[in-house]
Amino acid sequence: MITFKNIHKSFGDNQVLKGINCTIPTGSVTVILGPSGSGKTTLLRSINFLEKADRGEIILDDLHINVEKASKAEIHKIRQHTAMVFQMYNLFTNKTALENVMEGLTIVKKLPKHEAKEQALFYLEKVGLVNKADAYPHELSGGQQQRIGIARALALNPDVILFDEPTSALDPELVGEVLEVMQTVVQEVNSTMLVVTHEINFAREVADNIIFMDHGVIVEQGPPEEILSNPKEERTKQFLSRYISFNEYDI
């Protein structure tokens, strides 16, 4: 379970998060929607302290962190319980696909090499890229790189996986393969998943819960059928109407 208590964050004069309070149940899939600049990515990145929020509390199971006073040890600990899939994939460019997945297992989890390799191959299999195990990132397409990124996150068997717009940088034709992998992952893995995305259909199909953010606050949250089909807040309706009609027009 992740709980945010009154999370605030500013970049200079720009207030990005204005007091976020919410709870994400263990094992659930939560999708965060919202227009650009609404603070959803910042919120996601504040969980593993890639972005340090200014104040508030982050609670991950029995780990209570007061953001202001967060110690190095606490930050390190929460990072060991979470994993992230990045918008720009961020695969280690000096390592092969297999080594990318193994890195966390050997260095962080301290598994012996052969065991780490076995596990890494298992997760590469899961994302359908065992045949690319020895390829370097620059030899892979965006979609393949992102699938390796997902395998890297899964291999750590984290309590929480954070997806930061995993399909936004992809060619439209490659979005499908990544979403497909994510869908199977959702069914097979017990980790809590927090997904920032613009893929409304993905949200509709796999999310247990949707959070709609705008201007640094949570406008509305609830199960997908409620938020997507029957939103209460004017701002949510406005956002979705543009989005959904745009998508239909696109098809």
Binding site: F92, N94, A135, R152
Partner: protein
């Protein structure tokens, strides 16, 4: 007497001077290794903004690049023993700093001078690595140091190599000023030899060839290293 340069004399001079190439190289290579360590330290201190040390590192980089190498060498050779002497007297232990060979001071001076440049080269190299690489390392639970050592440094090395090669070639040539503080290296030996046999032209032609040959050799070595470090930019792993 129409021949300006006599081949036989050239050969003789060559044999006399070539034995000083290892001296020059030893100074250059030692200074380079020490300067690399110093450069990395300074770069990390500045990057992590370590309190107290960081402003000192800033000042060092500023001065190290602003002062002519020869002046750094003079300061180290003439001033350092005095400072050390005062320091050792105040602690009660006597040590004769005149016993330290001049080459030690040459290496210290060249290290200080080169380290400042390398610190900047390393900073540029590390900044050339995408920010997301460190974020990814941290996100999978690595510490900053693990990420820095295992991911960032290795990618930065590819960027830094050609610049380091430049710096090293400069350093080889800069060892010639070590003669100013009495170190008998290639250039110093050439000066002494030409003063004794008055064959200035021949001696300096030979010395130029020796510097040239050494530099070319190291240029090639650095190219090979660069190629090896960039293994991940090439095709499928063999």
């Amino acid at each position: 007497m129409n021949i300006i340069i006599e081949p036989y004399i050239l050969m003789e001079i060559f044999y006399k001077l070539v034995r000083y190439v290892p001296v020059t190289l030893a100074i250059a290579v030692t200074s380079m290794l020490l300067a690399s360590i110093l450069g990395i330290l300074v770069m990390v201190i500045r990057m992590k903004k370590v309190p107290v040390l960081s402003p000192i590192a800033d000042l060092y980089v500023l001065l190290g690049r602003a002062l002519p190498t020869m002046i750094v060498l003079y300061i180290v050779f003439f001033a350092l023993p005095i400072i050390l002497m005062v320091f050792s007297e105040s602690t009660g232990k006597k040590f004769d700093f005149n016993q330290i060979p001049a080459v030690t001071f040459a290496i210290i001076g060249l290290t200080l001078s080169t380290g400042a440049y390398l610190a900047e080269i390393f900073r540029a190299a590390v900044q050339s690595v995408e920010k997301g690489q460190m974020e990814a390392a941290l996100s999978i639970g690595m510490t900053w140091w693990q990420g820095f050592y295992r991911i960032i440094l290795r990618q930065a090395a590819v960027f830094a190599m050609p610049l380091m090669a430049n710096q090293f070639l400069n350093l080889i040539k800069n060892t010639s000023i070590a003669f100013m503080i009495t170190v008998m290296e290639l250039f110093g030996a050439a000066n002494v030899l030409s003063a004794s046999n008055n064959r200035y032209l021949e001696v300096y032609v030979v010395v130029a060839l020796l510097y040239w040959g050494t530099s070319i050799t190291f240029e090639k070595i650095f190219l090979v290293i660069e190629d090896k470090l960039a293994f991940f930019k090439k095709g499928i792993k063999q």
